[in-house]
Symmetry: C2
Subunit: 724 residues, 2 copies
């Protein structure tokens, strides 16, 4: 058989890459389409798409009502530009996928409809504007669709699918909960309605059924506890029992039940998704295998040379030795070819972060071996490696914390800041002198990066501030604030010195990517509600600075708010007058406390049914999204805490151990990672060798260290569930 | 071999009963001790113990500061009585257990020390009182120990053990959380400390480090959001970012992490407990087997007759046919004996609720067969069994709800109440006429019981009220309130008509026993905190009725509260002046909202460190106990929703099916259970027969119906985990 044409290899590499990143795009197999498909998946194209999606979303900041007003012409040109980019991206996608598939996919239809709606709305609004008629830019509400529906946002779509699947069950529990609420309200009406009681604000208490329902709904969220109970409780202590029963049934039991239903469905849905992904991955890998297979005796296999070419195409950035390791795992008996079963594993193998630790000597040892190897240098490096070095710096951090807490104005203390900065910089320099710099700033060395960035940022900001102060006698508030924050952030380092804290912190850092998906989800919900909120409440509530003498400054410029809790709480700056303010209000509503004050305030300045907006937000955001978030954290945490490894990870580890290139995990956890790398000091050329060097190279699976999840394309719980 | 003496059988029955109820008491095997052991486990003895435990706890209601004051002599005599009962119970326990075990058990030592402390304290307090010196009744704090440490409160002890096991891990997360809190506080001090900002109440804003820490701790609980942010936000919108970051890190991430850690440990701990219980159960069963075994060929077995005697002793209340069914399962091949393997299963078999449905004819059919069998009677019964009958009553309930919501004063409507009562009573009578009464009021017919009780209670209360009104022209408020509540509760029935709601309701009812354990846990924590709270804050805050003209009536009788949020919120009745009030305050603190107002209020009237009391309560109650409660509900819910059955349940079901006495579960769920029982109408003597009648008797496993869990001794998740 002849060498397969490069085209086959390219196509196979596209399949493997799809499998690796869990993409499920049925692309055409013509040479042209495959080349376009590579372009489509290029990181620059994807970054550009994200850039335009966020530009499109952030247009709300510049359109009226604007945080930073821009002329209508500018924002509309930008919007058209974004829409054209989306159209282009979609057209590009259409050229690489099969036609039948493209037109059946609701995602694509959604995007096209959204583009069409946006353009129509923009045109109508523009024309009306020319004639001086103001209309509503209702199409702004469809903008989050672009964030959800582009093929890149798989995670967000999955989260939405998970929500959609949970909805029926949530609905039943919600109806039962509403029934319970209505029943309790009826009881409250009968028990308290005719007592002529008054609230602390002197308003009639529990007189109107609908108001009781709202008040008790607020009590479920605990936001008006215990105020809502006090009038009845003052009248008779026995009435407290009614409220206790209410809180136990609705707040504790029903709210836990919501979490239980959401979590249960989330787990179930996750299992299904993983099963589907595993199936899809296998199918793609088999297609790749079929393209590259050759006969070897009875078997169909992929030969070593072609396998290597493929891996080079799919993962150009992994080291030679890493590739060699993967080959040794795939071709376990060194027969010079990879069979189907091992080949299918490749996508998973590529997904596992293997850190190649090169036991390279320090560059200084190569450049000035005499100096670096001298007794003084050895002593110094010994000191830096000693535990006491860490303790000394922990003590310095603690002293620093005390200095920060003390007053800034004493000149003594502001000099101390320079001393501390100098000490921290010395520490970093000493460490770089002692440890190999490339290892010190390795991909998984999160804390080293963190330290260095914080300290250099603090240095820059402090110098900038000092310069400004000495030249203009004026402290820039922004810079000073940043300096303060950086100074305090520096103290976080002390956490890293304590083993138990480090474990918890790593767990937290590991679930960050998962949380970003929820950032996206929240962004979508916030955008929709912010745009509706601005249409409903824009301009109804104004904020005036404390010294303003505008009419009704204390009532947020609206006499309807006189004596309201909203005005008394000085909440005037919480309004829907622009996109940023709306986001902050929605954030406060997500935190829940005092949301009824907001609801009542905004209902007072518009109409009473406006409360429905706030109830709807509470149901969507708190009952559904926050519960999904909590389920997410629970599941992610359990997976991080369970020490199970997936099959593939175990296979790699075995091979690493077999080849004698392993590093004991316990050693790595107890000691600093860097200590290991210094265990022997002879030189090696490292990079070049095709065969892995048993000495001088060590591998280690990085899954329990901070960063790999950023790469893992779906979600944290995967390794746990791959055996399904 | 001769008949074994009754002593062996008694001893074996004690072992089996221990295994069945998961008791782990190593009792002596002498005839006297076994008899005493039976007495010790008698339900009357246990009820009496609980009665005295709760009497002892409720003494706090009558001792100073009292809700209902009783003379010191009375309460102290009652306390001494309780302590003597406890001592007696302990002495009884000492006679049945082995000496070496008794003195090694911390539970017993705890009780003895607690009795000793209580008596000493009582004596000192009494003597001092005679001499007119007031001292603190500090020993009251040890009273909950009796609730925890008596052998009966296994569940509560398990919950405490679970908490104890979780503590180390929680502590680390808590320290990290505190570190984050301190860092953010430091940042807040630097960012806002020198801006001279003021809160909405005109107080200095974020000036003092400790106050910032407290304020931000309160923000974690969301109780002072968004108030704590507003001054900084009014100053510059950018500062909102600080608070958003704070809330995301501390409220969302750390609080979810607490739940995750608690839940994770809870699950782990649960598995261990179940494993231990299973081991203990097996050991007890083997001991029982060894007592009763006889040789049968090669095997050691228990013969049928003796097996039956044993089961009669252990479970005297199960029916003959049920016992026969168990025998058929244990002696599968009807060989006349039970082997070791099957014998060991007995404890589990007894724990599974098998409902024996007897297809008995209606008593009226026996007494007046002519009338009952007449065409009119048949038609009537047909109507009652028709679905339309249920729909009609649902409609009546809805109309009733509207009438309740309308005003009471119109005479028309108050007459309607009598009509509705009559309708409901008619419904119950018709149903009892149609269905067999003993089946209608069967153990598992929760809703029938509920309906009947509610309606007869309402009837009694309404008649009582009408009588009072017509004779004394005076509505008793208490009776009227009860009438109102009963009327509304009647409406709950409508939930039972909708299949989906019924499933959720059954799940909820099933986890009630689990929640009772948490009632006990909460009671212990509340008791301890209430007693401390009364010592700290007793009499500091007074409640005056609205029309009082006492000095400082508006400031709760304490000038230190002038202008405080506490006085402005009219919270004066929330005080620690007696046991009941303290409980209500603690309940409000558990709900969390406004707890900082309480903390500040009570700190103002005493000393600032008093806030620590409130922080401690928050940590213990909200961070630990409520999270355990949520874990409990989550786990219980998952188990109820997973349809898995334990091995033993499956075995029983198989046997029921084999014997042709099964009832299809789907039928049972879709139709009313009662409909099945009427499927054929011929008479049977039912009770007497030793062999189960293939017709006329049906069995059904009752684990998915409301009540069995009350019997299941450990907790809901057991069936799920028995395979471990």
């Amino acid at each position: 058989m002849a060498e397969p044409p490069a085209q086959d290899l390219l196509l196979a590499a596209a399949f493997v890459s799809d499998a690796q990143y869990n993409r499920n795009i049925p692309f055409k197999t013509s040479p042209e389409a495959v080349r376009l498909y590579y372009l489509y998946n290029h990181w620059m194209m994807r970054t550009a798409t994200y850039f335009f999606i966020f530009l499109n979303l952030s247009l709300a900041m510049f359109e009226e009502p604007a945080v930073y007003p821009l002329p209508f012409l500018v924002t509309s040109v930008l919007e058209v530009l974004c829409l054209l980019v989306f159209l282009g991206r979609l057209a590009h996608f259409a050229t690489v996928t099969l036609h039948s598939v493209f037109w059946k996919d609701t995602k694509n239809i959604c995007i096209m409809v959204a583009i069409l709606l946006s353009l129509t709305d923009l045109a109508i609004y523009g024309v009306l504007r020319v004639y001086g008629v103001r209309s509503i830019r209702w199409s702004r509400i469809v903008r989050p669709i672009f964030l959800i529906n582009f093929a890149e946002s798989r995670q967000i779509r999955r989260a939405f699918r998970s929500i959609r699947n949970t909805l029926p069950e949530i609905t039943y529990v919600f109806l039962l909960f509403m029934f319970s609420l209505l029943m309790f309200s009826l009881m409250a009406l009968k028990l308290f309605g005719e007592r002529n009681l008054q609230t602390a604000e002197g308003l009639p208490y529990f007189r109107n059924y609908l108001e009781i329902v709202f008040d008790l709904y607020v009590l479920v969220t605990t936001a008006n506890s215990p105020d809502v109970m006090m009038p009845a409780f003052d009248f008779s202590s026995w009435y407290a029992l009614f409220f206790i029963a209410f809180v136990i049934v609705n707040t504790y039991i029903f709210m836990s039940l919501f979490l239980a239903v959401v979590y249960n469905n989330y787990k179930k849905h996750l299992k299904n998704e993983i099963r589907k992904l595993a199936y899809m991955k296998r199918r793609k890998m088999i297609e790749a295998f079929n393209l590259l297979k050759e006969e070897e005796g009875e078997q169909l296999v992929v030969r070593e040379a072609r396998w290597k070419q493929l891996v080079k195409l799919v993962a150009p950035d992994i080291s030679n030795s890493h590739r060699e390791l993967l080959l040794r795992i795939s071709d376990n008996e060194q027969k010079g070819f990879v069979d189907k079963k091992s080949f299918v594993q490749l996508a998973d193998l590529l997904n596992i972060q293997v850190v190649t630790l090169k036991l390279r000597s320090h560059p200084l040892a190569r450049w000035v071996p005499r100096v670096y190897g001298s007794a003084a240098s050895r002593l110094l490096r010994g000191l830096v490696r000693h535990r006491a070095f860490v303790w000394t710096y922990d003590a310095i951090i603690l002293i620093n914390a005390i200095f920060i807490a003390l007053d800034e104005e004493t000149p003594y203390i502001s000099y101390a800041e320079w001393v501390f900065l100098a000490l921290y910089i010395t520490e970093i320099l000493l460490k770089v002198y002692t440890y190999e710099p490339r290892a010190f700033f390795g991909k998984t060395q999160f804390w080293n990066w963190f330290d260095t960035l914080i300290i250099f940022a603090a240095l820059t900001a402090t110098i900038l501030n000092a310069t400004l102060k000495s030249t203009t006698k004026y402290n820039s508030q922004q810079i000073l604030d940043i300096v303060f924050i950086l100074r305090v952030l520096r103290l976080i380092r002390i956490v890293d010195s304590i083993q138990r804290f480090r474990v918890i912190m790593n767990t937290l850092i590991n679930i960050v990517p998962t949380m970003l998906t929820f950032g996206g989800l929240t962004l979508v919900v916030y955008c929709v509600f912010a745009i509706i909120g601005m249409e409903l409440f824009h301009g109804k509530i104004q904020f005036f600075p404390a010294d303003s003498n505008a009419p009704h400054a204390l009532e947020c410029g609206n006499p309807a708010l006189k004596d309201s809790l909203f005005a008394r709480g000085k909440y005037c700056k919480n309004n829907f007058n622009d996109f940023a303010s709306s986001f902050i209000v929605l954030m406060e509503l997500t935190v829940v406390n005092q949301w009824h004050v907001f609801a009542n305030g905004f209902a007072n300045v518009t109409v009473q049914p406006a409360k429905l907006y706030f109830i709807a937000f509470h149901i969507v955001m708190v009952i559904i999204i926050v519960n999904i978030f909590v389920s997410f954290i629970l599941e992610a945490f359990f997976v991080e805490y369970s020490l199970e490894k997936s099959e593939v990870e175990t296979a790699i580890e075995q091979k690493i151990q077999e080849l004698g290139m392993g590093v004991q995990e316990d050693e790595l956890q107890d000691e600093q990672l860097l200590d290991n790398m210094e265990s022997d000091e002879h030189e090696l050329e490292g990079e070049g060798g095709a065969k892995p060097q048993p000495k001088g190279l060590v591998f280690k699976i990085a899954s329990k260290t901070p960063f790999p999840l950023l790469r893992r394309p779906f979600c944290v719980p995967c390794p746990h569930l791959t055996t399904l």
